[in-house]
């Protein structure tokens, strides 16, 4: 598990617990200053990653561990969040975790499944699978930064005494 992260969560690998991590990630990302749309995309990526651990890493077992840590990031004045997701699967070849192309050549060729890794790739600014060095298992590191605010449409504004995070 990533050391010294300000927030860390461990769940048993029961799919019922996924919603709890999603909520925690959404609220942390929002509190760290990411706009709603970015929070939504990050939450989806984390959910897909945890689902893949349960399905592919643990073969559906619900009594193994998934660890998730959350930390605030800053890059060129942009606020962001790092999510590190660790499991305790046997060492697998990280090269085998590959997104299938999301656009089928032909609508009749779409098949159920094969979306998770592609969604993860498309939903965050940075992602990296690596073997854990602290224990046996896989680590996925995700980073998401706040999108630039939409251009001001000249709507009404108010005198604000304060607007603190």
């Amino acid at each position: 598990m990533a050391d010294h992260a300000p927030i860390s969560i461990r769940i048993d690998s029961d799919p019922v617990h996924l919603c709890v991590v999603r909520s925690a990630v959404e609220t942390a990302a929002s509190r760290f200053g990411l706009p709603q749309h970015d929070c939504d995309r990050l939450v989806l990526a984390v959910d897909e990653a945890m689902t893949n651990i349960i399905r592919h890493g643990y073969g559906g077992r619900d009594d193994r561990s998934i660890w998730v840590t959350l930390s605030r990031l800053a890059r060129n004045g942009q606020t962001g969040i790092e999510v590190v997701i660790d499991d305790e699967t046997e060492q697998i070849d990280t090269g085998l975790i590959k997104a299938k192309p999301l656009v089928p050549a032909n609508p009749d060729e779409i098949t159920p499944g094969g979306l998770g890794v592609g969604i993860i790739e498309q939903s965050v600014d940075h992602h990296a699978y690596q073997r854990r060095t602290d224990a046996t298992g896989l680590r996925l590191t995700l980073q998401k930064f706040a999108s630039p605010p939409p251009t001001n449409d000249g709507g009404p504004s108010k005198t604000s005494l304060s607007a603190k995070a």
Binding site: D14, E48, L102
Partner: protein, 114 residues
């Protein structure tokens, strides 16, 4: 962020069935959704409308179930129409480039004519 129970209710249409789903659909619930839809599609349904107005969140395990239902309907030359996709659900269909593969409508009325 209350996580309300998933419900799946079905009602007949002149030319098929309408299914209303509520609740977040993730890997803890997608197999239940699959069982219900595959049960309904055990016999031909000329038009299957799935109303997602009560679904605020769906991940790829939910999308996979809908893709499977679409495949069945296509092979039979029958219709599957999804309606009332909420923003996050619309989002995953867009990310997965499936928004052009499915027939999506903004109301049940439109779904009946689609």
């Amino acid at each position: 962020m209350a996580n309300s129970p998933m419900t799946i209710t079905s009602s007949p249409l002149d030319d098929g069935q309408m299914v209303q789903v509520t609740g977040d659909i993730d890997y803890s619930r997608s197999s239940e959704l699959r069982v219900e839809l595959m049960g309904l599609l055990g016999r031909p349904v000329a038009r299957l409308i799935i109303d997602l107005v009560g679904v605020n969140y769906m991940d790829s395990s939910g999308v996979a179930v809908l893709v499977e239902a679409l495949q069945i309907q296509r092979k039979r030359n029958q219709k599957l129409v999804l309606c009332n996709l909420q923003p996050k659900v619309k989002g995953i269909f867009e990310i997965a480039r499936l928004n052009t593969v499915f027939t999506l409508t903004d109301s049940v009325e439109l779904a009946k004519g689609a």
